[in-house]
């Protein structure tokens, strides 16, 4: 763009912007705004029954509303805490009457997930009696009794010399 046409363009832009930025509103513009504001204010402020008492009560409510909200919230919180503390005290004051009795269900899912009491301890084996370990060999190998019931025709291995003990 050459300087002449640029200058012309800038002049055109200036003129257009000046026209845009100096537009004047129609006559009595401010009067219309104030009238609308007054109407809005009346609509907002007039009480539903048109009574000054309601008007004042609404103003009072506007001023004291947040304080009342806070007060009621504190009251509810206090009731909850007091109830909780009372309940806790009542539980602690109850006499200890032994372990709670469990009633186990005999079947169903509850039976599987229920708390099962431990089985009674088994009686210890008398001294000198091998107990459950009597059938085991010292070397850890199974011993086949000579009179073991076997199918006819099945050969048995000869017992080891030390297995006679």
């Amino acid at each position: 763009m050459n300087p002449e046409s640029d200058a012309r363009a800038q002049a055109v832009i200036d003129a257009a912007l000046r026209r845009l930025g100096t537009a004047d509103p129609a006559r009595d513009f401010q009067g219309r705004i104030l009238t609308r504001l007054a109407a809005e204010r009346m609509k907002r402020d007039v009480a539903p029954l048109g009574s000054p008492l309601f008007f004042r009560l609404r103003h009072i409510w506007r001023a004291t509303g947040p304080a009342l909200y806070c007060l009621s919230a504190c009251l509810i919180a206090g009731i909850v805490v007091a109830g909780s503390v009372t309940h806790s005290h009542r539980l602690h004051a109850a006499p200890f009457g032994g372990p709670p009795v469990l009633t186990l269900p005999s079947q169903g899912v509850g039976a599987a997930s229920a708390v099962h009491p431990a089985a009674p301890a088994s009686t210890p084996a008398p001294i000198g009696h091998p107990g459950r370990a009597s059938h085991t060999n010292r070397k850890g190998r199974a011993r086949i009794a000579p009179h073991a019931h076997k199918a006819p025709g099945v050969a048995l291995p000869a017992p080891a010399p030390d297995s006679q003990n």
């Binding site: 363009a9 800038q10 002049a11 003129a15 912007l17 705004i33 504001l37 402020d45």
Partner: protein, 191 residues
């Protein structure tokens, strides 16, 4: 007056006094800033009725938040921001270019006798074509350019209204004018 009503009156008296104060403040704001706000709105809407509606809506919002009037530091910037948001929101909702752009309407709001110099430079039709080209600029540049057209606003106030710095506004205006000149040259408007 009963005792109860007397007590009520003593409680509500400060609130009523505040109401009177705020209504006076709002009336002063209307007297002082309504024309500037109209120009801001008109720069976007290009329609007298829509611009007037936007200004009225602006003051309705002020009325709605009248309890906060004491906290406002710069009324002009605050009001410009409100009206700017309103017109942009309306434009966005319309989802069109400034549809209300009406050359005849524009000519009516601008008495020709007041601006003889501009009238000789461009006609109303040319003005409309130039503004159509302005609408093709990038939004940031266009917004800065349109607000710079409003005589009452300084660069600092435009920057505050758009939430940016003065230097940013200056560079946006510079870029907008340069680009606009090129577009006008292409359109054959600035020959």
């Amino acid at each position: 007056m009963s005792c109860f009503e007397g007590q009520l009156a003593s409680w509500t008296a400060p609130a009523l006094a505040r109401t009177v104060d705020s209504s006076q403040t709002i009336a002063q704001l209307v007297a002082e800033y309504s024309t500037a706000l109209y120009r801001v709105a008109f720069s976007v809407t290009r329609n007298a009725a829509e611009a007037e509606d936007a200004v009225q809506e602006t003051f309705l919002r002020v009325l709605k938040h009248e309890s906060r009037l004491g906290e406002i530091r710069d009324y002009r910037v605050w009001l410009v921001r409100i009206v700017w948001n309103i017109v942009l929101d309306k434009k966005r909702r319309a989802k069109t270019r400034p549809e209300g752009e009406d050359v005849a309407d524009h000519a009516r709001t601008l008495p020709s006798g007041d601006r003889p110099a501009e009238a000789t430079v461009i006609s109303s039709q040319e003005q409309a074509r130039i503004l159509a080209v302005v609408d093709r600029l990038p939004s940031r540049e266009r917004e800065a350019l349109l607000l710079s057209a409003v005589e009452e606003l300084t660069t600092a106030e435009i920057a505050a209204a758009l939430g940016t710095t003065e230097s940013s506004i200056r560079s946006r205006i510079f870029r907008a004018r340069r680009e606009l000149a090129v577009l006008l040259e292409k359109e054959g408007i600035a020959r």
